[in-house]
């Protein structure tokens, strides 16, 4: 018996909703088996992983806080991915955004004023987009592939930040430890909910999603990007400026990644430290594709990813399940979700008659 995939004329609307549910069901079953096989209580583990982290207002606030940078970056990356602009450099752009924002916050140390915090955030966006301009320039001027340039620049940015906090920007009161001063309140993002770390910046993630949706669906530039993404040749025949699409995609993603970096240091962290991101720039790539490059999908994917990280912490604390196991579980969740996608785009047929190999 062979499994055969038949193209659907158009994506199944029903399956858009059913497929993720099936994936979750499969995850629960497989996860339960995994935990049980390793000697952990499967129901407790699943509850601890999925439900407990978000079963309080505080938990929800932390969940949204964690999902915010992922969503911000992923919705912006998705714009470029539609046009085959492979920006792998969001992590570096985030770090550079943090550097620009942090530098501004430090320069305005103890300066009061309602304008300080917005200025710091804007500087973060500028930092991120300037850094993204480097691969854009190298691609459009020298045809240097942005996968390599943007990826390599991630490492450069992290080392640059490391130098700053170990050297010139380290706190004068900090015994030469690698950290900047704590920013003064005027540079910090106000909290959205009392007694939590969720800050007003979280509101910018849905805004960014809407803006990205408008760009892709309602502007000529977005149309160009999509055409280039489908057939690069068609784009150039039609006289579209591929270069314009590249510049825009990279700098837009850079700006939002930079904003995410600025919000991390002016929100939950409150100072410049060597590690401002636990790899949001990379995880956002997963979020973008898991969300099928659609803003709504991406927000849901970011929430799911954020939740799996919290679930991983939780099962370690609550049940002593090693991080390695939760990473395996995380990988499984992603596999199931990605696999379930197939149901949206294809009909699965069980083919008994022919012996034709599916690919033939």
């Amino acid at each position: 018996m062979l499994l055969r995939l038949e193209n659907r004329a158009e994506p199944s609307r029903l399956m858009v909703f059913v497929a993720p549910l099936l994936a979750i069901a499969a995850t629960v079953v497989a996860g339960g088996i995994l935990f049980a096989a390793l000697g952990f209580e499967p129901f407790g583990a699943l509850h601890m992983f999925f439900i407990e982290p978000i079963s309080s207002m505080y938990g929800i606030s932390e969940w949204l806080l964690k999902a915010t940078p992922l969503a911000l970056i992923a919705v912006a990356l998705a714009v470029g991915f539609r046009g085959n602009v492979w920006n792998i450099g969001a992590e570096g752009q985030l770090v550079m955004g943090a550097v620009f924002a942090g530098g501004t916050a430090l320069a305005l140390y103890e300066v009061e004023g309602f304008w300080v915090m917005p200025l710091v955030l804007i500087m973060g966006m500028i930092g991120g987009s300037l850094y993204a301009a480097v691969p854009a320039f190298l691609r459009t001027r020298f045809h240097a592939n942005e996968i390599l340039t943007s990826l390599m620049l991630n490492y450069v940015a992290v080392l640059f930040l490391s130098w700053l906090v170990h050297g010139p920007w380290r706190s004068p009161e900090g015994y030469n430890f690698p950290e900047s001063r704590m920013f003064t309140d005027s540079a910090l993002l106000p909290a959205l909910m009392e007694d939590t770390r969720l800050h007003v910046g979280a509101l910018l993630a849905p805004v960014a999603a809407v803006v990205s949706w408008i760009i892709v669906s309602r502007t000529f530039l977005g149309f160009q990007i999509k055409v280039i993404g489908m057939t690069p040749a068609a784009g150039s025949y039609a006289g579209f400026g591929t270069n314009r699409a590249i510049w825009f995609s990279l700098m837009y993603a850079g700006a939002l990644a930079g904003l995410a970096g600025a919000m991390e240091i002016c929100g939950p962290i409150g100072q410049l430290v060597p590690t401002v991101s636990p790899g949001y720039g990379y995880t956002a790539i997963i979020a973008a594709f898991l969300g099928r490059l659609h803003p709504v999908g991406i927000i849901l994917a970011s929430l799911l990813l954020a939740q799996t990280y919290m679930g991983g912490d939780n099962t370690q604390i609550g049940l002593g399940i090693p991080l390695a196991v939760t990473q395996v579980f995380q990988g499984m969740i992603l596999f199931f979700l990605l696999a379930a996608d197939v149901l949206i785009r294809y009909r699965v047929r069980f083919d008994r008659r022919t012996r034709r190999v599916e690919a033939a």
């Binding site: 995939l5 038949e6 193209n7 190298l138 020298f142 045809h143 240097a144 592939n145 996968i147 390599l148 340039t149 990826l151 390599m152 620049l153 490492y155 450069v156 080392l159 640059f160 490391s162 130098w163 170990h166 050297g167 990379y282 790539i285 997963i286 594709f289 898991l290 090693p322 991080l323 390695a324 196991v325 939760t326 990473q327 395996v328 579980f329 995380q330 990988g331 499984m332 992603l334 596999f335 990605l338 696999a339 996608d341 197939v342 785009r345 294809y346 190999v357 599916e358 690919a359 033939a360």
Partner: protein, 311 residues
């Protein structure tokens, strides 16, 4: 050159080759995968699984040959998981690859838990007679373990197969234009699946090199991002095996040199020095990319695209 200087440069050369070897393996594997039109970002996960299983096999008394084979086999199994999702179920390749990395990091840490802190004997060096007596390059290039030579041979072999054999022609055809290849009658998915498996096997070698030869131990996440560098090197190489080798040696060489330069009294902070391998790779890529036509001819046109057999 004084004797001491000669010894220093010999050591730099030897260190460069060793540092580059895992990158060569992984990059060549990914290069073949991409030439067939598949982008597998799971290199890091496959490398780690290769490393931990090769180490485990050696630890439990299998010989080196068997241990390396086990590393390759496990890595191939990881790549089959990717192939099932990305080729069989046509899921998004980028996301599947990244998921494979997360999965591999976790799984290798889990299965390797009891291997932490135990040593194995490193893979012995094989000095090539006569060649290893040449000053500078003798000890620099011809006094390494078997895997280093294997990495260089694999570059030669892959070059030959890709550009001089029928198999290579089919592989490239599938990567360039899968619809045309399908029309001629080639099994696109079959070819791609083999390419993915080859990529997995090479990642297994890269991992085995790390855990058996370069730093004979197992610690979690010991590949430390080398899979990502390998991915970049494929682009750097404009999908040509020999250039991937050069790229890996360039990257390895600059890495080693910046460590030396820290003690030469260069008044530059070490973090800035450590940027050099990344910057050097970018600069060289820019230099070789200026001629647009060359790049276009090499990037597989169907890279990352889903193949629909029904059309």
């Amino acid at each position: 050159m004084s004797e001491a200087e000669l010894a220093t440069w010999t050591a730099i050369l030897a260190a460069m080759v060793r540092a580059a070897t895992p990158l060569v393996f992984a990059a060549i594997g990914e290069l073949v995968t991409e030439r067939a039109g598949v982008l597998n970002l799971g290199i890091e996960g496959m490398m780690l699984m290769g490393a931990v299983s090769a180490f485990g096999a050696a630890h439990f008394g299998l010989g080196y040959t068997m241990a390396i084979a086990v590393g390759m086999l496990v890595s191939v199994m990881m790549s089959l998981l990717f192939a099932f999702l990305a080729l069989g179920l046509r899921a998004n390749q980028v996301a599947c690859g990244l998921a494979l990395t997360i999965f591999g990091v976790g799984l290798s840490a889990f299965v390797g838990k009891n291997l932490v802190g135990t040593p194995v004997q490193p893979l012995p060096a094989l000095e090539i007679p006569l060649l290893s007596d040449i000053p500078l390059i003798g000890q620099g290039l011809f006094a390494h373990d078997i895997l280093v030579y294997t990495s260089i041979l694999s570059v030669v072999a892959v070059s030959w197969v890709l550009f001089r054999s029928r198999v290579g022609l089919i592989l490239r055809a599938v990567g360039e234009n899968h619809d045309a290849a399908h029309a001629i009658g080639y099994g696109v998915l079959k070819v791609r699946c083999f390419a993915v498996m080859f990529g997995g096997a090479m990642c297994g070698l890269a991992g085995a090199y790390l855990s058996l030869a370069y730093t004979p131990m197992w610690v979690e996440n010991m590949s430390s991002g080398r899979g990502w560098i390998a991915l970049a090197l494929v682009v750097f190489a404009t999908w040509r095996p020999a250039r991937a080798l050069l790229g890996a040696y360039l990257f390895g060489g600059v890495t080693i040199l910046q460590l030396h330069a820290q003690n030469w009294g260069v008044p530059v902070p070490s973090q800035i020095m450590a940027m050099l391998p990344y910057l050097a790779t970018i600069i060289v890529l820019v230099l070789i990319s200026r001629d647009e036509t060359k790049i276009k001819l090499n990037a597989p046109a169907c890279l990352g695209k889903v193949f629909h057999s029904g059309r």
